[in-house]
């Protein structure tokens, strides 16, 4: 019984090509996009656009959250302005992180700054793009929070921050080779040389498919 059930499924290329494959081979970007609206009537955004002009590349509301895309060179001045002179003043850096897009080879890294104004209860996200091996100005002098967060980005993405007071790895051990949150870093990869030297454990085999990608 079981064999008969299995056989038609295995030898049925027509059914596969007709019904299964189109579903599986849907392009990865087939889903719709989240609503993106350009910000127009906002005093803060207008003031920023007047002051910084073309360095503010875009100002959108993505899924009703305000996102500014700005040029890397203007980042530190815009952030300092937002902390000190803007109304409302964004006195808190909630989060700082990076995203890796290897399919955009010109500028594969995106730095993301989540700002918050406690007085106005308002969030603002600032993003800027980076090329491979490009460094970026630190914001530790603007918000103390940035110290460990930038260290984490350096540790996991390998992005270097200029003038950071203490740029060391934070989660991974010193001397580890590789930055795990880069997309080319496989899920089950480990620095075998480091592990053998420091933990005296025999390393994982380097051959074989250890992508760990769940399909």
């Amino acid at each position: 019984m079981a064999e008969e059930d299995n056989k038609p499924q295995e030898i049925n290329p027509i059914a596969k090509s007709a019904s299964e494959t189109p579903v599986k081979k849907l392009p990865r970007r087939a889903a719709g996009a989240m609503p993106v609206v350009e910000i127009k009537d906002d005093l803060l955004i207008k003031a920023l656009q007047e002051k910084f002009g073309k360095t503010i590349l875009s100002a959108n509301e993505i899924n009703s959250q305000q996102v500014l895309q700005i040029e890397k060179a203007a980042l530190a001045t815009v952030l300092l302005y937002l902390r000190d002179n803007a109304t409302p003043a964004f006195n808190m850096l909630t989060d700082l992180t990076a995203v890796h897009f290897p399919d955009q080879p010109d500028q594969p890294f995106e730095m993301v700054y989540q700002l918050y104004s406690i007085a106005a209860k308002r969030r603002l996200r600032i993003k800027t793009r980076l090329a491979e091996n490009e460094t970026i100005q630190t914001v530790t002098s603007i918000w103390g929070t940035a110290n460990w967060l930038e260290r984490e980005v350096y540790d996991l993405f390998g992005i270097r921050f200029d003038e950071h007071p203490d740029l060391r790895r934070i989660l991974l051990p010193t001397g580890w080779v590789g930055h795990p949150l880069r997309k080319e870093y496989k899920l089950e990869y480990q620095d075998n040389a480091w592990v053998e030297e420091n933990l005296q454990i025999r390393a994982l085999p380097t051959e074989g498919d250890f992508t760990g990608k769940f399909e």
Binding site: G32, N63, T94, Q114, T145, W148, L149, L172, F214
Partner: protein
């Protein structure tokens, strides 16, 4: 009689000394290593060494379907697994623009607040134990045990509680859940008073907490403190009030906040928070409506649209946020966890300098860190 003059001791080395605290030190609440630079017994500088528990949760998330990611969040901050689960499912629901039935919202709030109680009780127990009050430890664990029994009945687990699904809840309340929670809430204020009689006027407790680890409101905001450490410095800010999620807008509660920003104020803030949590639970139990617990349109295959979303909740430790970048597939491009403990721990250096080694223990306790969340 000979006159007493200054005598120098060239044979005594008066250099600063480096002392390693941890990673296996009981009062670092996990595997945290703190390298202290000491002048006598006074801390002149310190450096935190973290990452002993790093398992790469964010990397794993990029390789899992959205439903498969959820259990990983119970294991980041394992003391507040319910809050973490809530933050994750809410982020995905908001990205999907999914409405949750009212009953599920109320149940989620009740469970999250119960979890806040159990987390704060664990904080009180260990914090008091670190400072030397052993009785409080035993008493607080007694109450925590009752909460864990409720969790076990509800979720089937005591620590890695997981009943929230994208779109609602897996399990409805079991028979007798409301009565058990109500019963606990009725007894709880008496217990809180008992802890306070042990601590509030205790000379040892006061001398170990008052004026220790002071951080001003401005400094706290600059270093990014959130949660009770921020409120202890006098900033009245709570995400449940500032950006209400679930049904918090319909519930009445106050935000307690301190004045001096020292360890004692943070203690008072958390004690008052437990009372407020109890208030929220009682209101939510009263208002708990009947109805479905899963959204009828909850998708079986979760595919958020292309774009990004940041959402955060008030976890017992502070602001727990998730930044999701989706490419429209069943796996996230990036799922960043904004861990409150990680950012709060960064203030340890600033708060400890000038204090004694023993005070570092009190300050680590008052920051209420969980290493599982810091290292991820």
């Amino acid at each position: 009689m000979t006159e007493i003059t200054d005598i120098t001791h060239p044979e005594i080395d008066t250099n600063e000394m480096i002392l390693n605290m941890g990673p296996q030190h009981p009062s670092t609440h996990g595997v945290l290593r703190v390298a202290l630079k000491l002048d006598g017994e006074v801390v002149t500088d310190l450096d935190c060494d973290i990452g002993y528990l790093h398992r790469g949760v964010e990397k794993i998330c990029e390789h899992r379907n959205y439903q498969m990611i959820a259990p990983y969040f119970d294991r980041t901050d394992y003391i507040a697994a319910v809050s973490n689960g809530l933050c994750y499912v809410e982020t995905i629901e908001k990205a999907l623009a999914l409405e949750i039935p009212l009953r599920a919202q109320y149940l989620r709030v009740i469970l999250t607040e119960l979890n806040r109680l159990s987390s704060h009780l664990l904080w009180l127990a260990t914090h008091a134990l670190d400072i030397g009050a052993v009785t409080v430890f035993l008493w607080a664990f007694r109450e925590r045990e009752e909460l864990l029994k409720i969790f076990e009945n509800f979720f089937g687990a005591r620590l890695t509680c997981h009943a929230f699904r994208i779109g609602g809840m897996t399990y409805d309340a079991y028979d007798g859940f409301q009565a058990e929670v109500k019963d606990f809430c009725d007894r709880f204020p008496k217990r809180l008073e008992e802890y306070e009689t042990l601590l509030n006027t205790n000379r040892i407790w006061l001398s170990r907490t008052v004026g220790i680890g002071i951080i001003s409101a401005d400094a706290a905001i600059d270093i990014g403190l959130t949660g009770p450490p921020l409120r202890g410095s006098g900033v009245e800010w709570d995400i449940r009030k500032a950006h209400p999620y679930e049904c918090y807008a319909d519930l009445e509660f106050d935000i307690p906040y301190g004045e001096n920003g020292d360890t004692y104020d943070r203690y008072l803030v958390r004690m008052e928070e437990m009372r407020q949590s109890r208030r929220i639970i009682l209101q939510a139990l009263e208002k708990l409506p009947d109805g479905p617990i899963m959204a009828p349109k909850a998708p079986k295959v979760v595919k958020p649209s292309i774009g990004e979303y940041y959402h955060s909740i008030e976890s017992p430790k502070g602001e727990l946020g998730i930044y999701l970048v989706s490419d429209g597939s069943t796996q996230p491009t990036r799922l960043r966890i904004r861990p409150p403990s990680f950012i709060n721990l960064q203030a340890l250096r600033q708060m400890s300098i000038g204090h004694l080694v023993a005070d570092v223990v009190a300050i680590i306790g008052t920051l209420d860190i969980v290493l599982g969340e810091i290292d991820r």
